[in-house]
Amino acid sequence: MLIKTKSEIPSSEITDEKLYRNRRQFLKSAGIATLGGSLLPSSVLAAHKAARFKAGLIGGDDDLTPWEVVTGYNNFYEFGTGKDEPKVNAKGFKTSPWTVEVTGEVAEPKKWKFEELIGGLTVQEKVYRHRCVEGWSMVVPWNGFPLKDLIARLKPTSEAKFVEFTTLHDNRRMPGQLSSVLDWPYVEALRLDEAMNPLTLMVTGVYGKPLPPQNGAPIRLIIPWKYGFKGGKSIVKINFTKKQPRTTWSEAIPREYGFYANVNPKVDHPRWTQAKERRLGEYFRRDTLMFNGYTDEVEHLYKGMDLRKYY
C-alpha cells in the first residue's frame, strides 16, 4: 500500500539537532540585526508564522526557511546549474513587459499582457513545504492565487485534459541556456484535475514581496505535493492539450523522472533514496512524508494508480 495517512512527529527529531538549530537561529538573527534589519523585520516573520498555522497545511515542526535561503539557494538551470548561480546571474532580469501566450484547447487562444492575465485575481499567502527531488526541502510562504482561478479565466474547452507550461527561452537573458544541459525551453505539465486542485498555486511573490527573478519571476507554478522541478518558472506560455505533454526532465532522463513526480518516500529515485530529506539549515535528515504531507488533499487524484509505475 503506497498511500499512507498523515504521519506523526518524525522520529528524526533528536535533541542534538535543537542545539544546532538554535545556534543557527541565533547567528541568523544576529546577522539580520547587523544588516540593520533591512531584510525582514521580526514582525513580518511573526505574521507569517501565524498565517501558516491558520492555513493548517503545515505542522508545528515546520519552521519557515529564511528569506535569504529561499532566494539564495535555487535550482533554476536557466541561470546556471549551481545553487548560488541563479541569484547572481538573474540580477537585472527584466520581467516587464511580460506576455503569456495561451494556446491549444481554449475558447480563445491569445497573447495576454501579464497585468491583464492576473489582474483582479486575489493573491493569497500559502505556506507550503517544498521538496526537491534531490533530497532537500524548505518551508516557503508563497504569495499567489490558485491556478484554478486562472484556468477559469482562460476557459479551456471540454477537450482539454492537460495543461502545459513553458518557461522563457532567451539565452541573452538566461545565460544558463547557452549550455545544453537540458533541452530548452523548459516545459512542465499537469493533468487538468491536478491543475484544478486548490493547492496548486500560481506564484507571483514570496515573503510578501514580488517574486525575485531567481525564484521564477514574474510568475511560476508551485505544486506542493510534487517534487520542485514540476513547478515551471518564468512562464511565457500556457497550452491546454488533449494528450499528455512531453516534459523536460522526463524527456532528459525518462528512467529517473516521470510525468507525475509526486513526492513519495516509498518510490526511490533510481540513484538515491527518497525516504528522507534534509530541511535546509538542519544537520540531520527527517522522514519524507507521502505526497509531501498533503495526502488528504490530493490522494483522490491517484486512486487506483500504481504510483511505482506512474512515478
Binding site: 528524526s12 533528536i14 543557527r24 547567528l27 541568523k28 544576529a30 546577522g31 547587523t34 535569504e68 535561503v69 539564495g72 539557494y73 538551470y77 546549474t81 545553487k83 527531488v133 534531490e134 532537500w136 549550455s179 544541459v181 537540458l182 532528459a252 532522463i253 526511490d268 540513484r271 538515491w272 533514496t273 528522507k276 534534509r278 535546509l280 539549515g281 544537520y283 540531520f284 535528515r285
Partner: protein, 217 residues
C-alpha cells in the same frame, strides 16, 4: 637537500589544510551560515579527497619526467591527507545522512551505485593508510607493499564514478576530474623523454623524519 624537502613538506601541510580552513570559516565564522551546511561539508571534503588523490597519483609521472626523485617523499603525506578528507567525507555521510544507523547505511550502499562506489573507495583506502608507515613497509616487504598500494588506481576511478553518478544532469565537473585522472594514468604509458631518462627503481618512501598527519579520526 633535506632542508629543502622540509620546506616543501611544510608547504604541503599548509596547502592540504587550506580546504579544511576554508570549510571551518564558512561553517562557523561567518555571520550568515551556509544554506545547507551538510551539503557544503560533504561536497568540500569529497572534492578535497579527490583532488588530493589525483595529486598523489601525479607524483610518480612527475618524478619520472623531471627526474626529481625527492618528489616521492611527498607521496605519503599527500595520500594520507586524501584519506583524512575521505574520512571526514564518509563520516559526515554516516552521521548526518544516517545518524549512524548501520542497517540503513548498508541498505543505501547496496541499493545505490554512487554510494557503493564511494563506500568501496573509502574502505579500500583504509589498508593503504594503515600500511603507510615505515614499519609496515618493512614488515610487508617493498614488493608486496607496492602491490597493495596499486589499489590507489581503482580507488581513484571509483572516486570519479562516485561523483559522476551523483550529479543530476550537469556532468561537467566530474567529467573534468575524469579527464585529469585519464591523463595522469595515461602518461604512465608514455615513454619518458630520453634526455632525462635514467633507470629508476621505485623505492617506497623511507623517511620517517617528517611528522605524520593523523591516520584516522
Amino acid at each position: 637537500m633535506s632542508k629543502h624537502i622540509r620546506l616543501v613538506k611544510i608547504l604541503l601541510w599548509l596547502g592540504a589544510l587550506i580546504p579544511l580552513g576554508l570549510l571551518v570559516n564558512e561553517l562557523f565564522l561567518q555571520i550568515i551560515p551556509p544554506d545547507d551546511p551538510v551539503e557544503l561539508i560533504q561536497h568540500r571534503t569529497g572534492i578535497s579527497a579527490l583532488i588530493l588523490l589525483l595529486i598523489t597519483l601525479s607524483v610518480t609521472p612527475l618524478r619520472r619526467w623531471t627526474s626529481w626523485n625527492w618528489l616521492v617523499k611527498l607521496r605519503r603525506p599527500l595520500g594520507l591527507f586524501a584519506f583524512f578528507y575521505a574520512t571526514l567525507h564518509a563520516f559526515s555521510y554516516f552521521v548526518f545522512d544516517h545518524s549512524f544507523d548501520l542497517a540503513e547505511i548498508w541498505d543505501d550502499v547496496i541499493e545505490h551505485p554512487w554510494v557503493w562506489a564511494g563506500f568501496i573507495a573509502f574502505v579500500l583506502l583504509i589498508p593503504l593508510a594503515v600500511t603507510s608507515t615505515t614499519g609496515w613497509i618493512r614488515r610487508m616487504g617493498g614488493k608486496n607493499w607496492n602491490r597493495l598500494h596499486k589499489l590507489i588506481y581503482p580507488i581513484a576511478v571509483l572516486g570519479v564514478l562516485h561523483f559522476w553518478w551523483l550529479v543530476k544532469a550537469d556532468v561537467s565537473e566530474p567529467l573534468l576530474y575524469g579527464a585529469i585522472l585519464a591523463v595522469i594514468l595515461g602518461v604512465r604509458f608514455i615513454k619518458k623523454p630520453t634526455a632525462l631518462s635514467k633507470p629508476l627503481t621505485p623505492k617506497p618512501p623511507l623517511t620517517p623524519k617528517a611528522p605524520l598527519p593523523p591516520k584516522s579520526l
